[in-house]
Amino acid sequence: MTEQITLHPTQEMLAGFASGSLPAGLTVAISAHVERCSACRHCTSEMEAESTVAWLQDSDKDEAANDQDFSHMIDAIISEPQQQAAVVDSEAFTEIHVHERSVTLPRVLAKVASEGLVWKNIGGGINQAQVVLDDETQCEFIYMKPGSQVPVHRHQGNEITLVLDGSFSDEMGEYKASDFVQLTSSHQHQPTSEEGCLCFAVIDSPLTFTKGGARLMNPFLRYKFRKATSQRV
């Protein structure tokens, strides 16, 4: 990837990511971007250091540990073997095949996709494969065929789109591989893709299609969102 990544998670998001306090879907999307972006990797590293300081200062006033309780725990722990080398799964698949394209995924997304994706054709050259990661967000892989267009829609909440391959554009700009695109409820947009693209999207409330026949989809979308976020393993 020789082109510069131009769109990144906000500082606030990276801080949430570094402290592990975001919903899993969003955490995964940020992790996938960070794998490809050395600037955000560096930033995350610094934030982890800051979180560490805050963590240690926070609990400074706690009472001393109860030695009795913990000595059993220590005994149990040290009887376990130690890990001598990093576990590197060189067999893990990282490529995904969608229609005629073969895309190398960031490792965390390869893991997400490893249990199999169910692709649905939703018309207009758009295909979606939903994955359940937590009960607060709706996550999906989106494949836009070359020349395709998503109907005009508005978000009630936040939408994060991580471009994995190819590019798409809307009224506000052009987005290419590894760009981390954030939209809020004030945006209404119509994404199109000339060359085609594969994305990972995380939404925290249902999309509302705003024009014409597509509005008939709205009740189904709300149902889909409720269903997605209530799924349990």
Binding site: D67, I78, P81, S90
Partner: protein, 212 residues
């Protein structure tokens, strides 16, 4: 005869590190304790680390779960991971405190998701990978920037954990390639590379400490 090794720190992207990171009075910085646990399975060192961090881990658990039993479980999970992964720690990973913080964050993340019965498809180790994407060629590309006594190196080398010592021996004493060394030792190439990185890292630490 071992080649002189450089104590140079790797990479501008490593967070700033200070060796004397003791947060309580008494002997042993957190880094020294963690390295003793990793190198020598030192029970006393682990004991000290445990007592320094258990409360803080418990506090994080309480803050996020409001449940004493779960917070207690988090202490066990996190400190178990510290024990298991201590051999993989070196100063290039940052301070012992932030290393332990990130382990705790990871265990806490997994624990909360399990509690909420969210899918286990991804876990914290997938999201916050520890081991170097930045591995491999570093060792051979290091340039010597400091004079080191041969006797010093031989002493440090003999202090390495056996697994790492064996790898360093193949690469630096017998001048083998990574592939040849892996074959001789009958270990996967990936394992060889990470043991080599760790072994050289430890030598650098020991040399660095000696010459401070």
């Amino acid at each position: 005869m071992a080649k002189p090794e450089t104590p140079k720190r790797r990479g501008a992207s490593s967070p700033a590190v200070s060796i004397g990171g003791a947060d309580q009075s008494g002997t042993g910085s957190d880094e020294e304790l963690l390295i003793a646990v990793g190198n020598k399975q030192n029970r006393a060192a682990f004991d000290k680390l445990f007592k320094r961090f258990a409360n803080r881990i418990f506090a994080m658990g309480m803050k996020l779960t409001r449940n004493e039993q779960l917070a207690h479980d988090l202490v066990q999970e996190a400190m178990l991971t510290v024990w298991q992964k201590a051999p993989l720690y070196d100063l290039d990973r940052g301070t012992a405190q932030s290393w332990i913080f990130t382990l705790t964050r990871n265990r806490c993340f997994d624990m909360l998701r399990k509690q909420k019965r969210q899918p286990a498809t991804v876990n914290a180790d997938d999201i916050w990978p520890q081991e170097g994407e930045h591995d491999g060629n570093l060792v051979h590309e290091e340039q010597a920037s400091q004079e080191v006594e041969i006797e010093q190196i031989e002493k440090f080398y003999s202090d390495l954990p056996p697994a790492q010592q064996a790898v360093v021996e193949q690469i630096y004493i017998h001048d083998r390639t990574h592939e040849e060394a892996a074959s001789v030792l009958n270990i996967p190439l990936g394992t060889l590379k990470s043991r080599l990185r760790l072994g050289v890292g430890k030598l650098r630490q020991m040399v660095g400490t000696e010459n401070d």
